[in-house]
C-alpha cells in the first residue's frame, strides 16, 4: 500500500520561527506590475489515455498514485430522451434501481451492506441523453469493487419492494414542483424555449410512473445497458496493464448488443417572444430570465461567441451584467448570462438575475441595454484581453486531476467532438477580435426574439416602482402574458 506520506513533502520541521529564510524580491508597486515566472503547460492528447478492449469498448485510463484510491466511471449511451412517451420516468427509475434494487446474487440490503462495509461508493443514474455508473473505492478493494459493479450493471434484479418505494417517493416529490421560484422558473423556461412536446420537457407524472413495470425496466436495461453502449474511464492507484487485463476480464464475455442513440431530436418549436409572468405567493424577490434560442456546437463562430458571452455576463465580476446590475446598482446578488452551444441541437441564450420584486423591471432594462450595447458598439480591447485571459489563464485548472481530464475526453468521445478541440482551445480564444464580437453579437443576439420570464409576486414585479425608474413596467418590453402555475403533477395548465 502507498503511504500517504508520499503526498506531503515536508521540507521544514513544524513550527519554524522565520528568520530571513530566503532573499526577498522587491514588491511591485501595483499587482499589474508583478513579473511572474513562465509556466509551460501542455495538455496531453486523448490518444495517450485511450484504449480499446477486445469487445470494442473504449477505455480512458490513467494511473494516479497520489492516494491509494480507485475511481471508475461508465458513460452509458441511453437517456430519458429515448424512453416511451407513455412511460415517462422509466429511464431515470431504471438508472436508479440498477443500484438500489439489488442483483441476481445480492438482495438490495445485502448489496447496501457490502458497499457500505467496503466504504465504497457505487452509484447509477440516467439523465436525458446519457447514463452514468460510478465506482469509487480504496485501491486495495479494486477486485471487490469491480465484482459489485459488474453485478449491479449486468445482473440487476429490480427488487419489487425497492421499486415500489422509489415510485412512491417520486409521486410524492413531483407534487413539490411549485414550491420554489427556482424550480418553477427552470421548468417554465424549458417549455418557453422548446415547447410542450420536446423530450427535454417530458416530466414523470403519477400516471406515467404508475404505468411503469419491472418488466419495462428489464427491457430498457437489456436494450441499452451492454458494452456497445459503454465508455469507461479509470483513474487511480493501479498498474495500467494489469488494470486493462482486469477490465477485459470483467467486460470481455458480455455480449455486445445494438448501439444506442448517437443523436437526439431537436425541438420542433419556435419560441414566442414576449413577457411571461408567473405568480408565486409569499416571496419578496423576483426571479427573472431573459433570452432566446442559440446555436448548435461546432459553429465557426464558437469562440467569438464565447468571448461575447464572457463580456456580457460570464466572466464573473469582470462581466458587464455583474458590474452594472450588482456592483453599480445593488440590484441583485446573483446575475449573469450563458450562451450554450447545444451538443445535438441549438441551445439557449439566457441572462438572469434575482431582485426584489419592485426592482425587477429596472434590472431587466439594464440587461436589455447591455444586450443592445453589444450589438451596436465595439467592445474595448481591454474587454477582449480580460475575457480571453479569464479563460486562457485558468485553462490548466480545468484538468488539474486525472479524473477531470479523462472525464472531459470521455465526454468528447461520447458526443463526437473533435479530439483536437482542447489542444487548440486557447489559440482559438486568443484569435478573437473586437470586430468578431460585434459581428457575432449582431448575428446571434436578437432583441426582437427575446422571451422574458418573471416568477415571484407577479403584481409587484409587473408594477415596478424602483426609485430610479418609478414608472417602468414590464409591458414596455413586450406583450405581457400572465400564466397560471402548472399543475405540479401533470405540468399541464
Amino acid at each position: 500500500m502507498h503511504a500517504l506520506s508520499k503526498i506531503f513533502v515536508v521540507s521544514l520541521p513544524l513550527c519554524v520561527a522565520v528568520q530571513g529564510v530566503a532573499a526577498q524580491k522587491p514588491k511591485a508597486d501595483h499587482p499589474k506590475n508583478i513579473v511572474y515566472p513562465k509556466l509551460d503547460f501542455k495538455l496531453p492528447p486523448p490518444s495517450q489515455f485511450r484504449e480499446v478492449l477486445s469487445n470494442g469498448m473504449v477505455v480512458f485510463i490513467a494511473k494516479d498514485r497520489m492516494l491509494p484510491t480507485f475511481d471508475l466511471s461508465i458513460t452509458l449511451r441511453t437517456g430519458s430522451a429515448v424512453e416511451p412517451v407513455d412511460k415517462i420516468g422509466l429511464a431515470e427509475l431504471m438508472g436508479e434501481q440498477m443500484r438500489d434494487g439489488g442483483t441476481k446474487n445480492l438482495t438490495p440490503a445485502e448489496l447496501d451492506e457490502e458497499v457500505e462495509f467496503l466504504a465504497a461508493s457505487l452509484s447509477t443514474n440516467i439523465g436525458e441523453t446519457r447514463g452514468r455508473v460510478g465506482l469509487s473505492c480504496l485501491s486495495k478493494d479494486i477486485d471487490e469493487g469491480l465484482r459489485l459493479l459488474i453485478d449491479v450493471v449486468r445482473y440487476p434484479s429490480f427488487d419489487k419492494e425497492r421499486f415500489r418505494l422509489a415510485k412512491e417517493r417520486r409521486v410524492q416529490n413531483i407534487k413539490r414542483r411549485n414550491d420554489s421560484t427556482n424550480s418553477i422558473s427552470g421548468i417554465e423556461w424549458g417549455f418557453l424555449m422548446s415547447g410542450e412536446d420536446h423530450y427535454s420537457n417530458r416530466y414523470p407524472s403519477t400516471k406515467s410512473l404508475n404505468a411503469i413495470t419491472r418488466d419495462d425496466m428489464f427491457a430498457f436495461h437489456k436494450k441499452y445497458v451492454h458494452p456497445a453502449n459503454m465508455l469507461v474511464t479509470v483513474t487511480g492507484d493501479f498498474d495500467r496493464t494489469e488494470m486493462l487485463r482486469k477490465l477485459e476480464g470483467v467486460f470481455g464475455d458480455w455480449p455486445v448488443g445494438e448501439t444506442g442513440p448517437t443523436t437526439f431530436p431537436a425541438p420542433n418549436y419556435t419560441p414566442k417572444p414576449g413577457v411571461y409572468l408567473l405568480n408565486k405567493e409569499g416571496v419578496n424577490q423576483g426571479r427573472v430570465a431573459i433570452g432566446h434560442r442559440s446555436i448548435k456546437r461546432g459553429s465557426p463562430d464558437e469562440f467569438p461567441l464565447m468571448v461575447m458571452n464572457g463580456i456580457l455576463g460570464a466572466s464573473g465580476f469582470r462581466s458587464r451584467l455583474v458590474a452594472r446590475v450588482r456592483s453599480d446598482e445593488g440590484l441583485a446578488y446573483n446575475t449573469g448570462s450563458r450562451f450554450s452551444q447545444g451538443t445535438y441541437f441549438p441551445g439557449s441564450f439566457q441572462c438572469w438575475f434575482q431582485s426584489k420584486s419592485n426592482s425587477c423591471a429596472y434590472a431587466a432594462r439594464i440587461v436589455l441595454d447591455e444586450i443592445n450595447r453589444l450589438r451596436t458598439e465595439l467592445v474595448s480591447q481591454e474587454d477582449i484581453d480580460d475575457t480571453v485571459a479569464y479563460n486562457v489563464e485558468s485553462f490548466p485548472q480545468r484538468f488539474q486531476t486525472r479524473a477531470a481530464l479523462l472525464g472531459t475526453y470521455a465526454s468528447d468521445e461520447y458526443t463526437g467532438r473533435n479530439p483536437k478541440y482542447w489542444l487548440t482551445y486557447t489559440d482559438n480564444l486568443k484569435r478573437v477580435t473586437r470586430e468578431d464580437v460585434l459581428r457575432v453579437a449582431k448575428k446571434y443576439l436578437h432583441p426582437d426574439q427575446l422571451v422574458i420570464l418573471g416568477v415571484g409576486d407577479a403584481d409587484a414585479i409587473f408594477t415596478g416602482g424602483h426609485d430610479k425608474a418609478p414608472n417602468l413596467k414590464f409591458s414596455e418590453f413586450g406583450h405581457v402574458t400572465r400564466l397560471p402555475l402548472r399543475d405540479p403533477d401533470t405540468l399541464s395548465r
Binding site: 506531503f8 521544514l12 419578496n284 426584489k356
Partner: protein, 606 residues
C-alpha cells in the same frame, strides 16, 4: 461571497473528517492504507500571522486561503451581519487597488461618511416615529422624512462623483485574468475565509492582494454593497420554501449563544451598520495575529515562506486582541418546538446540544451519527425499509464547532404519516442506543467509512486547504489526523455514554414542517383551481382568484347560503355568457364546499 449558515455547516463539518492515522481494530477491519498523516509546514511570523504550507508538486496549481478567526458570533449587539458585510467589502479594493486616484477619491468617501452620520441620526428619529405609530416601516422610502430623503439624494450624488475614480471590481479582475479560479469567500458563525486557486507561477499575486486588502482596505462603495447583501438574504432566506423557518429554528435552539443570530444579519440591523462600525471591526479582527494563511499545491516551501514574510511581515500586530466569546448556552430546562406550515414535504428535525470541536465526547458523537446514517444505518432500516413512514435518506450528523456543537436528525415524512409519528420512531431508535447491542460489524463499518473518507477527502488541493484552515481556526490543524484517530478508538460503551449524556427530552429542540394547506395557497398547488384559472381571461384572473379566496375564508354560514342561492339563480339565467357561466359554476362549487366545512365544524362543536 457566501454566507454559510449553521445548518449548511452541518454538512460541511461532517464532510471534513480528515486523514487516517491508525490501524483498524478487529478482524472485520479493512486494511489500512498505512497513512502517515498530514504534516503541513507551520510558520508563525513575528506579527503573529500563522502560515500552513503543504507542497504537492504533481500539477502546476496552488490553492490558497486566508482564514480569519472572526464570524457572526463576533458581531456587536445591534449590528448583526457586520462580519458578513465586511467580507463583501474586502472585495472592493484598497487605497491602491480599485482606484484611479485615491487622493482625489478620498474626499468623496469622507463626505459620504459625514453625511451618513447625519442620516443615521435621522433614521433613529424615524424609528421613534415608528414606535409611536406615525410610520410603519423605516426602510420604506415612501415613509421617509423629507430630511432623510434629501440627504439620501445628496448621498447618491456623492457616490456618483466617487465613481469617476473607481476601477470597478479590480481585485476580482486581477485574480481572474491571472487564472484565479474558484475565487470566493465565506462567512460562518465562527470563521471568515477568502480563497482562490491559481496557476502555480502566479502565487505572488495572492500575497500581494491579500496583504494589501488586509492592511489597506477602505470599504469602497459600502452602502451599495449593502443592497446586495439584502438581496442575498432574500435569495437564501426569505424567498425559499423553508429559509425563514430554518432561521427561526436556529434562533430557537440557541437561547443565549450568538450561534443563534443569523450570520447574514437581521435586516433592521444591517441597515444601520456604517462604515465607521466596519472600520473598528477591521482593526480588531483583520490583524495578522488573527489569521491563518493556508497554501496547498505546487510551490517551493522556502521561497513561499520568504514571500509571506516579504508581504505580510510588515503589517503590525493588532493593538487590541479580539474580545473572547464568553457567552455560554444555559442548561436547557424544557423541550422547545417549532411548528411551521410551508411549501415543502412534511419533515421533522430534532436537534440536541452536543460539544465543541476537540471535546473528549466528540468522536463518540460522530460515530453515533455514522450508526444512524446511510442506507444500512439504523434510521434508513427502520423508517424506510421496516416502517415505510419516510422518504429519501434520513440524515443524522454531529456538528462540533469552535464554541459549541449540536447533533441533528432530519427526516422527510411520507404522505399519509405525520411528523410526530416519525419523531416517535426516531426517539425509539435513539433509546435503543442508550444501552442496546451494537454489533462489532456495525461499529467497524462506520470506522471503515471514517478511514476511507479521510483518504478521499485530501484528494484535492482546495479540499485539504479548507480542512487545515477550518481546523486550525476552530481547534488545531492536527485535528485532520487526530479526529479520525479518536473515532477509530470509540467503543460501544462510549456510544452508550454519549446517548445518555446528550439525548434527553429537555435538551432537544424539534421543528415540525407540514405542507402548507392548499386553501391558504390559492393557485399554487391546487391542480383543479390552476386548470380553472387558465380558462379565465388574463385580465380577469386576479380578481377571480381573489373572489375564490374570499369565499374560502368566509365564516358565516348564513351569508354563504345566501350566496349559493344567488349563484344558482344566476346560472339559470340566460343572460350570462359562457365565460361567466364557467366562472360562476366553479365559484358555486367552492362555496358549497366551504358551506359543508362550516356545517361539519358546527356539528363537532355541538
Amino acid at each position: 461571497m457566501n454566507t454559510r449558515n449553521y445548518r449548511g455547516i452541518a454538512a460541511m463539518a461532517v464532510c471534513l473528517l480528515a486523514a487516517p492515522a491508525i490501524q483498524p481494530q478487529t478482524a472485520l477491519a479493512i486494511e489500512s492504507p498505512s497513512a502517515a498523516g498530514v504534516k503541513p509546514t507551520e510558520v508563525v511570523l513575528d506579527n503573529g500571522l500563522t502560515l500552513l504550507l503543504v507542497e504537492r508538486r504533481d500539477q502546476p496549481v496552488v490553492a490558497a486561503g486566508m482564514f480569519f478567526d472572526v464570524g457572526g458570533v463576533n458581531d456587536p449587539r445591534g449590528k448583526s451581519g457586520i462580519a458578513h458585510l465586511f467580507e463583501h467589502m474586502l472585495f472592493k479594493g484598497s487605497s491602491v487597488v480599485g482606484t484611479k486616484d485615491f487622493d482625489a477619491e478620498r474626499p468623496f468617501i469622507e463626505q459620504q461618511d459625514h453625511l451618513r452620520r447625519d442620516m443615521i441620526a435621522e433614521m433613529n428619529r424615524m424609528r421613534v416615529m415608528k414606535r409611536r405609530g406615525e410610520i410603519t416601516d423605516v426602510l420604506d422610502p415612501t415613509q421617509w422624512t423629507s430630511k432623510y430623503t434629501g440627504m439620501k439624494k445628496q448621498y447618491d450624488q456623492l457616490v456618483q462623483s466617487e465613481r469617476e475614480y473607481v476601477v470597478n471590481n479590480e481585485l476580482f479582475n486581477l485574480y481572474t485574468t491571472n487564472g484565479g479560479a474558484g475565487l470566493n469567500a465565506g462567512t460562518m458563525e465562527d470563521l471568515t475565509m477568502y480563497f482562490v486557486q491559481l496557476p502555480s507561477n502566479k502565487l505572488e499575486l495572492f500575497f500581494w492582494l491579500e496583504a494589501d486588502r488586509m492592511s489597506n482596505g477602505i470599504m469602497r462603495e459600502f452602502y451599495v454593497e449593502r443592497f446586495n447583501v439584502r438581496e442575498e438574504r432574500r435569495l437564501r432566506v426569505e424567498s425559499t420554501p423553508t429559509g425563514k423557518y430554518d432561521e427561526a429554528f436556529n434562533s430557537l435552539f440557541w437561547q443565549s449563544h450568538p450561534y443563534g443570530i443569523p450570520v447574514i444579519g437581521w435586516p433592521s440591523e444591517v441597515e444601520s451598520i456604517s462604515r465607521d462600525d466596519v472600520r473598528d471591526f477591521y482593526k480588531i479582527y483583520y490583524a495578522p495575529n488573527n489569521v491563518k494563511v493556508v497554501i496547498v499545491g505546487d510551490f517551493d516551501t522556502d521561497e513561499t515562506i520568504a514571500m509571506a514574510k516579504n508581504y505580510f511581515g510588515s503589517i503590525p500586530r493588532g493593538t487590541r486582541a479580539p474580545d473572547p466569546v464568553i457567552t455560554e448556552e444555559p442548561k436547557p430546562i424544557a423541550e422547545r418546538r417549532l411548528s411551521a406550515e410551508a411549501d415543502t414535504n412534511p419533515r421533522v428535525r430534532l436537534r440536541y446540544h452536543s460539544v465543541a470541536m476537540g471535546h473528549t465526547d466528540e468522536a463518540a458523537l460522530n460515530v453515533l451519527s455514522g450508526l444512524l446514517s446511510g442506507k444500512t444505518g439504523r434510521l434508513f432500516k427502520r423508517l424506510i425499509t421496516s416502517e415505510d413512514v419516510a422518504i429519501g435518506r434520513p440524515q443524522a450528523g454531529n456538528n462540533s464547532r469552535k464554541y459549541a456543537g449540536s447533533f441533528e436528525i432530519n427526516v422527510t415524512v411520507k404522505e399519509g404519516h405525520t411528523p410526530e409519528e416519525v419523531e416517535g420512531i426516531v426517539l425509539e431508535e435513539i433509546d435503543k442506543l442508550r444501552e442496546g447491542d451494537i454489533s462489532d460489524r456495525e461499529l467497524q463499518k462506520v470506522k471503515n467509512q471514517v478511514l476511507a473518507s479521510s483518504v478521499r477527502r485530501v484528494k484535492s488541493n482546495m479540499g485539504l486547504m479548507f480542512q487545515l484552515g477550518l481546523y486550525d481556526t476552530w481547534y488545531d490543524w492536527s485535528y485532520i489526523n487526530t479526529g479520525p484517530k479518536r473515532m477509530l478508538e470509540v467503543t460501544t460503551n462510549d456510544v452508550h455514554r454519549v446517548v445518555k449524556e446528550f439525548f434527553n427530552p429537555k435538551t432537544r429542540t424539534v421543528a415540525i414542517y407540514r405542507t402548507k394547506k392548499k386553501d391558504d395557497d390559492v393557485g399554487a398547488g391546487d391542480a383543479e383551481l390552476t386548470a380553472f384559472l387558465a380558462s379565465v381571461p388574463v385580465e380577469q384572473r386576479d380578481q377571480t382568484k381573489m373572489m375564490i379566496a374570499q369565499i374560502e375564508k368566509m365564516s358565516e354560514g348564513f351569508k354563504l347560503q345566501q350566496m349559493v342561492g344567488m349563484m344558482e339563480q344566476g346560472l339559470d339565467s340566460d343572460k350570462i355568457s359562457e365565460e361567466q357561466s364557467n366562472v360562476m359554476k366553479y365559484m358555486l362549487k367552492v362555496a358549497k364546499k366551504r358551506l359543508a366545512e362550516l356545517t361539519s365544524a358546527n356539528k363537532e362543536s355541538d
